[in-house]
């Protein structure tokens, strides 16, 4: 028996030594580190900051939407109370700024009309080929669920948008690519989209790249996870219910099993 124990200890030691090598390899092999930010929507109780989502929408619309589609969202979503919570009037105005192709009409012709809240967000390009042709061969991905489609989510988007720097000397930057500390391989086809002051803010928030990046990351988190506030709210109720229920079940279990202990007691006495 001592032999087996010795063998096990020896085996575990044999594991521990290359184990540290494994850990080192894992730390190096997984691309750029993404710094975690503080978000208003962090679990368990967090919700969206409506002002931040409204600002984020402006940044998205003025900057991102020039190249990126967002096909899963409709203008009506912008009025959601657990989202940007724009007023119905404001949503109508925002929707009407887009020209939407509708039809066919009675004569079989397609026609253009101002957007309505029920319309899906207008895509900047008619198809992927048109998008590639306009972007040096690169396809700007749809942003609807982007905050869930990359490890790190909103932290990654923030890191990407603030990660444009001059390439370090000796870095082999491909023609038409831009150096970015957050992107896999450190070069992306997307040029730095944000400059201080490029989008006017009306609520007193400073129009800086850092604020733009933060606000649009939060906005993209909402587009990816529009039911997050509802989820957190119901989650709290469910957890409280289950905790109370667990206590009741535990006490009931003890009460029921006490009968058995009483029986054993009368037996052995």
């Amino acid at each position: 028996m001592t032999m087996t124990r010795l063998a096990v200890v020896a085996f575990l030691l044999a594991l521990a030594i290359p184990g540290s090598a494994l850990a080192e390899e894992a730390a190096n092999g997984h691309g750029p580190a993404i710094e975690a930010q503080e978000w208003s929507f962090a679990p368990p109780f967090g919700g969206y900051n409506k002002g931040q989502l409204q600002r984020g929408y402006r940044v998205y619309k003025e900057v991102c939407a020039n190249c990126h589609s967002m096909r899963l969202l409709s203008y009506r979503n912008l009025a959601e109370p657990s989202g940007p919570h724009f007023s119905p009037k404001a949503v109508e105005t925002l929707a009407a700024q887009a020209q939407v192709t509708d039809g066919p009409d009675d004569k079989g012709q397609m026609f253009q009309r101002p957007g309505r809240p029920s319309d899906a967000f207008r895509s900047p390009f008619a198809n992927d080929q048109a998008a590639r042709a306009a972007n040096n061969g690169a396809l700007p991905p749809d942003l609807s669920v982007m905050a869930k489609a990359r490890p790190g989510g909103p932290d990654y988007i923030y890191a990407l948008l603030t990660g444009y720097h001059k390439a370090p000397p000796g870095f082999d930057l491909t023609q038409g690519m831009y150096y970015n500390t957050a992107f896999q391989g450190y070069q992306t086809a997307m040029p730095n989209p944000l400059v201080d002051g490029v989008v006017p803010y009306t609520d007193g928030t400073k129009p800086t790249v850092d604020n733009y990046a933060k606000d649009v990351s939060a906005f993209l988190m909402w587009t990816a996870e529009p039911k997050l506030e509802e989820r957190h709210k119901i989650g709290a109720r469910v957890m409280i219910f289950l905790l109370v229920f667990a206590v009741i079940m535990y006490l009931s279990k003890r009460a029921v099993w006490a009968r058995l202990h009483r029986r054993d007691h009368t037996h052995t006495a």
């Binding site: 028996m1 087996t4 124990r5 096990v8 085996f11 594991l15 290359p18 090598a21 494994l22 390899e25 894992a26 092999g29 679990p43 368990p44 096909r71 899963l72 979503n77 991905p141 609807s144 669920v145 869930k148 489609a149 990359r150 490890p151 989510g153 990816a224 529009p226 039911k227 509802e230 989820r231 957190h232 119901i234 989650g235 709290a236 469910v238 957890m239 289950l242 905790l243 229920f245 667990a246 079940m249 535990y250 009931s252 279990k253 029921v256 099993w257 009968r259 058995l260 029986r263 054993d264 009368t266 037996h267 052995t268």
Partner: protein, 431 residues
């Protein structure tokens, strides 16, 4: 466990039904008063938890199927539509996705419990084998369900796994390719593949439910095993299932639901993969194709073996071998608690499964591949060498005289001839 029926039809309609379809009698004898060993610990509560999880998956799945579009063009967006526009759709879909993980967590604990306490040994071999069949069906169902999201990981997981059959080409040239194209319904993974995976994903849970009924039937013939592994000897060793185990299982279920709810409401995507929120793209392979966490140990075994065909055999064998455990284990006693040598090998096997899980998530090169191979060898050696050999050479610890003695101590054994009047199982809660 075979026991005389104690059902007394009370009303006229109960008597009428009892003579035609004695369903209330079966429920009374097999569920309410079923004699259950009095010493079952909390590891025994996972059977009930699994039954509950199967019901959750079927209930949420049926509603999700009402809104899901099983086409290559519509699948991804229909899932997002469920998340956005269907009432409570986000709750249904996250319950179903997180539920799959919780289902596997419970089934693995349940299986390791059976392995530790020797619940596969005679007379419970059929019960164990039916459990392996359920595990296989669960693996198939979960794999097909994951494909339905039709994200990048879905698509490429289907591509990788269905391509495994092409390894048969090395046996009979053309056989594998023909089989794979037959499975795909075309020359590549596409709409027809998705459609058939959807049809089978809807079918399999009901097959699982059927085998679960057989599993419970096979449990109720010999009755439960217990932590001592010794047989029930007297009526004092057993208690009625209700209320003792309904309340104990119920309490454990609520604790399990706390973990389920914490993941569901606060980290629903924690166990998923970000790449699966990118729509499937046949022209772009993700840098790392990784299955869901519950398949990682098997994936590590597949990749540890250099030859493709033998890799597939290893993958299938790692689950198939479980069928033969009742005959591979040569131990005279059931419970590992009383097996001083085997105990070490058992826990090393648990470590092996966890290590294979970690290695399955990493790229198979360098040290990862080396350790993948070491643990794969141990995985099979545990069943093929350690189980037969240790059972023969080991001298078990002294077993308690009875289940009751294991709970109350040796003084609980009354001298022969003591009146046994109150020794029948307590039934206060049943009346």
């Amino acid at each position: 466990m075979a026991h005389p029926s104690t059902y007394q039809p009370a009303s006229g309609i109960e008597k009428w039904l009892d003579a035609r379809l004695p369903f209330p009698r079966v429920m009374h004898d097999q569920f309410l008063v079923f004699p259950t060993p009095r010493n079952l610990n909390y590891w025994w509560t996972f059977g009930g938890i699994l039954t509950f999880m199967l019901a959750v998956q079927i209930a949420t799945g049926i509603v999700l199927a009402m809104h899901y579009v099983p086409t290559a063009e519509g699948a991804f967006d229909s899932v997002e539509k469920i998340m956005r526009d269907v009432n409570w759709g986000w709750l249904l879909r996250y319950s179903h996705a997180v539920g799959a993980s919780m289902f596997f967590l419970a089934v693995y604990i349940h299986s390791f419990r059976g392995l530790y306490y020797g619940s596969y040994k005679a007379p419970r071999e059929v019960l164990w084998i039916l459990g392996v069949v359920i595990l296989l069906l669960m693996i198939a169902t979960a794999f097909m369900g994951y494909s339905l999201v039709w994200g990048q990981m879905s698509f490429w997981a289907v591509t990788v796994i269905t391509n495994l059959f092409s390894s048969l080409d090395s046996l009979i040239p053309g056989l594998g390719t023909t089989l794979v194209e037959w499975i795909w319904g075309g020359f590549a993974v596409g709409g027809p593949t998705l459609n058939r995976l959807y049809a089978l994903h809807y079918l399999f849970p009901f097959v699982i439910a059927g085998v679960v009924i057989l599993h419970i039937w096979a449990l109720h013939v010999p009755g439960n095993n217990n932590p001592t592994g010794i047989d029930v000897k007297t009526e004092r060793d057993v208690i009625p299932f209700h209320p003792y185990y309904t309340i104990k299982d119920g309490f454990a279920l609520v604790l399990f639901l706390l973990l389920f709810a914490a993941l569901l409401f606060y980290a629903p995507n924690l166990l998923g993969h970000a790449d699966n929120y990118i729509p499937a793209n046949p022209l772009q392979t993700p840098p790392h194709i990784v299955p869901e966490w519950y398949f990682l140990p098997f994936y590590a075994i597949l990749r540890a073996i250099p030859n493709k065909l033998f890799g597939v055999i290893g993958l299938l064998g790692s689950i198939g071998i479980l069928v033969f455990i009742p005959w591979l284990d040569t131990s005279r006693i059931r419970s590992t608690s009383y097996r001083p040598i085997y105990k070490w090998f058992f826990w090393l096997f648990v470590v092996t499964c966890l290590a294979l899980g970690y290695l399955g998530s990493q790229a198979p090169d360098g040290w990862y591949l080396f350790f993948g191979r070491v643990f794969t060898i141990y995985y099979f050696a545990f069943f093929l060498l350690i189980m037969p050999i240790v059972g023969l050479i080991e001298r078990p610890k002294k077993l308690p005289g009875s289940i009751t003695q294991s709970v109350l101590g040796p003084e609980a054994s009354r001298p022969a001839g003591t009146p046994a009047a109150p020794s029948e199982p307590v039934r206060e809660g049943v009346a």
